[in-house]
Symmetry: C2
Subunit: 170 residues, 2 copies
DNA sequence: AGTATAAGTCAGCCTTGTTGACATTCCAAG
DNA sequence: CTTGGAATGTCAACAAGGCTGACTTATACT
């Protein structure tokens, strides 16, 4: 973490000078792109009794099988009550399994069932298809830049969560 | 639009081959970054009687003053009723002004009042600060890539809306 | 034994999205 | 000039998914 690297606004260099217009375009790009990003899974979920919140839970349980409720809470950034409502329906419907911890029996470890995996596949297939198409159209250098900027835009705790998940990656 | 450029999955080149793991990281980056993206304005709005929906309306009215309700509807991608609820509170609170169209009197043209501009400034200052910091940390090539990928991720109609807004830029 | 932690639950509230039905105003085509 | 359709506004009802606050249960730690 270099100190004072970006404290001065004007160096007379285009490298560090960013107009409000450029920033505004970035803001709008985020807004429109996020709509596209969620559109395909949303369409699948619309026919079912589930929403975007269920998708997020399923995604991260699949990503980190055996994760605890508390862990998921931190990653998703919602309240226990909010997550519990979602989790309860997923468990009731047999998409998620909750197992009492061996070391600490207060904890519940979450796993996708066979059925849960099927829905996860359907949802992430749709989302990956769009991401793949965007990545291919944009090319590898653009993809690297994309990830660099997004990472810099995260809150610090989320950067850590993101990095931890990356390192867990197959 | 070159035909058949990305139809084949395997060229034996890293250029076009994208693993599910890479795509999943992109998906998670989008998720965590969008949280950061909205966090600062959300904090400001939490103290007031407004939410993210008000922010979006204010942003695009500021961006394209005199826009019609229908136009805004298309950009925001919500129903007339949903937007109307937001718009009504903004008009009642004196942040937005609605003027009957001169050519077509059915249309309402929307403008920010002095007060509306103040809130818009506060919100976009916060959001731009984060975007600026992320852009600086990432560097200009990364920023270019970021925008290329986001644009490729949008639905076609939103690409058009985005481009139209860009060309309107000061 | 007493405190802290993990999880679950109940109740109630808010924002923001949805549908459906309907009124108004006005342009434009027949 | 009339009529159909477009743009807008409004009412009502509902659902998802956030939130807070209060409380219970089980377990772990000190």
């Amino acid at each position: 973490m270099p100190d004072g690297r970006n404290t001065s606004a004007h160096h007379g260099e285009s490298l560090l000078f960013l107009t409000d217009e450029q920033l505004r375009q970035g803001i709008e790009a985020m807004f429109f792109a996020y709509r596209g990003f969620t559109a395909d899974p949303d369409r699948i979920l619309a026919d079912m009794a589930y929403g975007r919140a269920h998708h997020r839970a399923i995604h991260f349980i699949n990503r980190a099988p055996g994760t605890t409720v508390n862990n998921l809470l931190n990653i998703l950034g919602v309240t226990k009550q909010s997550l519990n409502r979602v989790l309860r329906t997923l468990i009731d419907q047999g998409l998620v399994e909750s197992k009492v911890g061996k070391i600490d029996k207060r904890e519940r470890h979450l796993f996708l069932t066979e059925e849960g995996h099927k829905l996860e596949q359907a949802l992430s297939d749709a989302q990956r298809a769009r991401m793949r198409s965007a990545f291919r159209d944009a090319g590898p250098e653009a993809v690297a830049g994309f990830r660099t900027v997004l990472e810099a835009m995260m809150d610090t705790e989320m950067q850590h969560a993101y990095t931890r998940l990356k390192e867990t990656g197959s």
